[in-house]
């Protein structure tokens, strides 16, 4: 909602934002993604359980709860963890399965729901995480509804297969060459054989992120004003000497109260 909308009550976005086409489009987008999710899970053989992630998603969609996507992901991981295909051999592992068409649709559905839900939150609540000191919703932190064009949702929908395809390509290159080799050469693939390579990749990614974070933070620290730097130093000083200052102030208060008691004639 822009400042002009706040000033002008007759503006189409000044009233209930729920009725704005952008909100409707993104809500519909998320619902379609959740429907696809149910179809994919039903195809995998889950019975009523296939409704669980979609129900969680719908509930968080209605309440605009920011924990919706993680909860849907968790429930999905839980469900898929229970799944094991019929006739699978002893050493079967999800790592070894080449993703099929329905797996790709499942990825598109989950990605679509997550993207749609967060975009909806940016329109209804706030773009960036809210300041914990600030209770309630600040309208100035929302994305303006007028900035959402009609083709935006279409563009998001078209970009989903692209990202899924990229992930599929990486998966195929990384895992399908590696897994059959181990299966044919070693028979059963113990999890501790697959784990280190994945763990190493995750660790390398985290280390790169940390290095990039240091570089960006260094730029921020060096461009800080003297007032900001002084505030930081003062804050550090208070944190480091918190106990000592507490002790000193307790003694000071004790002497002050003692002096007051002496002044008052009993």
């Amino acid at each position: 909602m822009t400042n002009a909308d706040l000033r002008n009550p007759l503006s189409p976005t000044a009233g209930d934002p729920q009725s704005h086409p952008a909100i409707r489009n993104y809500t519909l987008f998320c619902l379609v993604a959740l429907f696809l999710l149910v179809v994919c899970l039903a195809n995998r053989g889950f019975e009523w359980w296939c409704l669980l992630p979609a129900l969680i998603g719908c509930l968080t969609l209605l309440t605009h709860w920011s924990y919706g996507p993680p909860l849907v992901l968790l429930s999905l991981v839980g469900l898929l963890g229970m799944y094991k295909p019929r006739g699978s051999y002893v050493g079967w592992s999800p790592h070894l399965e080449k993703p099929g068409f329905m797996d790709l649709i499942l990825c598109v559905a989950v990605l679509g729901y997550i993207v749609g839900h967060y975009r909806l939150l940016s329109l209804m609540r706030n773009i960036f995480p809210a300041d914990p000191r600030w209770r309630g919703v600040d309208p100035s932190q929302r994305r303006s509804l007028d900035l959402v064009k009609g083709w935006e949702v279409v563009l998001v929908g078209l970009s989903l297969p692209l990202w899924t395809g990229l992930a599929w390509a990486i998966w195929v290159v990384k895992m399908t060459d590696f897994a059959p080799f181990q299966v044919t050469q070693l028979g059963i693939v113990p999890p501790w054989d697959v784990l280190p390579s994945e763990l190493g990749l995750v660790w390398a990614g985290l280390a790169l992120l940390a290095a990039a974070g240091v570089a960006v933070s260094y730029m921020r620290w060096t461009t800080a004003t003297p007032e900001e730097s002084l505030l930081y130093l003062q804050d550090r000083c208070w944190r480091m000497t918190r106990r000592e200052q507490g002790l000193l102030n307790r003694w000071l208060m004790w002497t002050r109260l003692r002096a007051q008691r002496r002044k008052v004639p009993s």
Binding site: W192, D193, L195, P196, S197, L199, G200, W203, A204, A207, A210, A211, V214, S217, Y218, W221, T222, A224, T225, P226, S229, L230, Y232, L233, R236
Partner: protein, 81 residues
């Protein structure tokens, strides 16, 4: 100048922790799972220490520079004396 040394020490600690991260990666790829966690924890602590040292050194340097800009005469007097 003293703040520059602290900043340099901060960078040194960060560099050491990065070396530790590389070691952890190599240990992980070599299936030394039990050993890698020890190095990982040590590296993380060193990394955190380096960041803190760097932050404090930069903030102190900026404050010192601002103070020198506000009161340049004191420095000149000291030098001329």
């Amino acid at each position: 100048m003293k703040y520059w040394w602290r900043e340099l020490s901060g960078w040194l600690l960060i560099g050491l922790s990065m070396l530790g991260f590389v070691t952890v990666y190599e240990l992980g790829m070599g299936h030394y799972l039990a050993e890698m966690w020890v190095i990982a924890v040590i590296s993380l602590v060193v990394f955190w220490g380096g960041i803190q040292l760097l932050k404090v050194a930069i903030a102190a340097r900026i404050c010192q520079q601002a103070q020198d800009g506000l009161y340049p005469s004191k420095k000149i007097d000291k030098r001329t004396r």
